[in-house]
């Protein structure tokens, strides 16, 4: 039922310092009866945005008691954002691992080939390789010190058991 109302149809009462008030809407076409509350509530719910913007207020600053506002849910994209970032980082890390593993295997193959070549040459007696205790000097890591197990065991004599 469409009915037109004027500004004079809205009656205010109980206006306080707090800028809060009660209001009723009267229906001038039907002999000054008040419009039922549920109709007014439904109308306000539908037009909440217009009422807010008329006062330059928002749902938080203009409150209608007993009319809870429908909150708008946050925007959610179809794939969760975190999965996208996760996928990117995962691909980078896996690529790094594969690269390092393959590089390691290639390096080992090269070292094996070199040592077999050198063994073949030694058998032929063509290359003299400086050797210490059967280990070629290049392979010995001369920088890091080694504890000789024979002498270290001697320490037992001095430690009281």
């Amino acid at each position: 039922m469409m009915s037109f109302h004027e500004i004079s149809d809205v009656l205010l009462c109980n206006v306080t310092d707090r800028v809060s008030f009660w209001f009723v809407v009267t229906d001038s076409s039907q002999n000054m009866t008040t419009v039922p509350g549920s109709v007014v509530e439904a109308a306000i719910r539908m037009n909440r945005n217009r009422i807010n913007s008329a006062f330059l207020l928002s749902d938080k600053t203009l409150q209608f008691l007993k009319i809870t506002s429908t909150l708008s849910p946050p925007v959610e994209p179809s794939t969760p954002v975190w999965l996208i970032v996760f996928g990117v980082v995962l691909c980078l890390i896996v690529a790094g691992i594969v690269f390092l593993v393959v590089a390691g295997i290639q390096q080992r193959k090269k070292k094996n080939k070199e040592s077999t070549e050198r063994e073949n040459l030694e058998e032929k007696g063509e290359v003299t390789v400086t050797v210490e205790n059967g280990i070629p000097c290049e392979a010995l890591d001369l920088k890091a010190g080694h504890i000789n197990g024979v002498f270290a065991a001697d320490d037992e004599r001095f430690t009281s058991l």
Partner: protein, 551 residues
């Protein structure tokens, strides 16, 4: 207030023990197991205990990195997901659990952990957390793949990036509103806290953890040094840099806490003002933060009945109470920082920076832990000749990842707290105590002096000798006594469980199998030391008998 015990512990425990471990590693040129075997064959258990503790630590520590990854991936949204509560089913309000607590706590407890109400209700595995944990282990594997030499290069990045982020945060943090409150709180000593032994224990464990003492990782790293490396200077420099960084980081942290506390305090006051204005229909602007107290008394006098009806909802807002809300624990680190970040401008940038920094720090710690486990494995000729480095590191990472999936279940955070509280603390103290006593009294402090003289060309002065021989062991023994008396006095152990209906933590008792696990954790590492001595003793006996029968 924490600064005084921290500095005393640093000077009495941190620096001497750091120098000791570096010197031992550099001299013996082995990982922790081999090094202690050389000092005295009965002490091989100490090395094994260190490796066991490192193993437990690596099991649970990477879960923190998984959480940091989770938060990092979620920082690329606007608004941040922990800034607002999700809506309930009929879109009339926010979800109930989120209403009772704050949105950041809801995001942590419900959307990150999906925590169950108690330890017994295990629940399902959270696949999102499992994915993040796998990613974290893949990152660790990538860094340790090529052995400690390559780890050294990674550590350049993981150690320097946090400094850059900390400086950015320092500038941002000090310019925040209310940061001064946090700083004042940090620097005022609280005398009643100093008399509580728990403060001293946590200062000691903090020093041990941040310097990495007792894990075997220091010995492992030092064994790769040149024999003539000046480890005394390094020890002093490292501990000073470490404490300066800690102070720097805590200035940043406390300025952010101050901001968060002031923000919460002011919103609390605003809520109270709104409530009073609505209830008494007062004019807007008549109640402000300054005149709130007088107006409250006035309203109580003039409208006693309505005020009495309203008073249960009127919370007493206190800045001190906001600052006191606990400033420790892993979960709280995530909650408090995410809460502070959501209130800044451009929160996505600060969030990404912060969690990248957290990741760098966490991965740096993980590298130290895994190095402590891998060095003994690669030292032992049995394993190292059969399998290449990549396979050994891969197997270690894989085993740890599979065990770590326990912490991604719904009750996982409770198990995490068990590991966090009990796996390392007591065992570390014992290991460090045995280390000091072993080097000073069993190996002999004069022999150690001579070793240091051959290595760095200088004998240690009286400060080091007194600390090693007397002060550190005494302090650790007294800490032990405090710990045990505290445990005996409080009786059974309890934990904090999240109650979804109330929206806060409640205290519950551990079930018996959880207590058994705690006992097992502590026993597994501490029993290694006497067991190692016993095994060596039996082996020597058998050898002597064999020799005597042959002769």
């Amino acid at each position: 207030g924490f600064l005084i015990p921290y500095f005393i512990m640093l000077i009495a425990e941190g620096m001497p023990l750091l120098y000791l471990e570096l010197a031992v590693g550099q001299r013996m040129r082995r990982g922790s197991i081999g090094a202690w075997k050389i000092i005295s064959p009965y002490l091989c258990g100490v090395g094994v205990a260190s490796v066991v503790v490192s193993f437990f630590l690596s099991m649970y520590y990477n879960v923190i990195n998984a959480w940091a990854f989770w938060y990092l991936f979620h920082s690329f949204q606007d608004p941040l997901p922990w800034a607002t509560c999700p809506l309930n089913s009929n879109r009339t309000g926010y979800e109930e659990e989120c209403e009772k607590t704050s949105s950041t706590q809801y995001f942590w407890y419900r959307q990150t952990l999906n925590i169950s109400p108690s330890l017994e209700a295990s629940g399902n595995m959270q696949w999102e957390q499992a994915l993040c944990l796998t990613l974290a282990w893949l990152v660790v594997y990538l860094c340790i793949l090529r052995g400690t030499e390559s780890t050294g290069k990674v550590v350049y990045v993981t150690a320097s990036l946090p400094y850059c982020v900390l400086i950015i945060y320092l500038i941002r943090g000090l310019t925040l509103h209310g940061a001064v409150n946090g700083l004042v709180y940090m620097f005022t000593p609280k005398l009643e806290q100093l008399s509580n032994p728990k403060t001293w224990i946590s200062a000691a464990t903090q020093i041990f953890f941040s310097l990495g003492l007792g894990f075997g990782s220091l010995i492992a790293f030092a064994s790769y040094n040149e024999p003539t490396n000046n480890c005394e200077r390094h020890a002093i420099i490292v501990s000073l840099i470490n404490s300066t960084t800690s102070i720097f980081a805590s200035i940043v942290t406390f300025s952010i806490y101050g901001f968060k506390a002031t923000f919460n305090y002011e919103s609390c006051i605003n809520k109270v003002i709104l409530l009073l204005l609505n209830a008494f229909d007062l004019e807007e602007g008549s109640l402000t933060a300054d005149n709130l107290n007088e107006m409250k008394d006035y309203l109580m006098a003039t409208h006693p009945q309505e005020y009495a009806q309203l008073s249960p909802q009127l919370k007493n807002c206190s800045l001190e109470a906001e600052l006191d809300t606990a400033v420790q624990g892993t979960g709280l680190a995530f909650i408090v920082y995410s809460e502070a970040i959501k209130n800044m401008e451009v929160p996505q940038l600060y969030s990404v920076l912060y969690f990248v920094m957290l990741l760098m720090l966490g991965i740096g710690s993980m590298l130290g832990n895994t190095a402590a486990i891998l060095t003994p494995l690669t030292d032992s000729r049995v394993i190292a000749t059969r399998f290449p480095k990549e396979v050994i590191s891969g197997v270690v990472c894989f085993i740890n990842c599979v065990i770590g999936l326990i912490f991604t279940m719904e009750a996982g955070n409770y198990w995490f707290d068990i590991f966090n509280d009990y796996a390392a603390t007591l065992s570390l103290l014992l290991i460090v105590l045995v280390e000091t006593i072993a080097v000073c009294y069993i190996y002999g402090i004069r022999r150690f002096e001579k070793d240091l003289y051959t290595m760095i060309g200088r004998k240690p002065n009286w400060y080091w000798k007194i600390m090693w021989a007397f002060a550190s062991p005494l302090l650790i023994i007294s800490l032990f006594i405090f710990y045990l008396t505290d445990y005996i006095l409080t009786g059974t152990l309890q934990y904090q469980a999240w109650d979804a209906t109330q929206g806060q933590l409640v205290t519950k008792d551990y079930p018996s199998y959880a207590l058994a696990v705690i006992g097992l954790l502590v026993a597994a590492s501490t029993m290694c030391i006497p067991l190692g001595a016993l095994v060596t003793f039996i082996r020597k006996r058998l050898k002597r008998e064999r020799v005597s029968t042959v002769a």
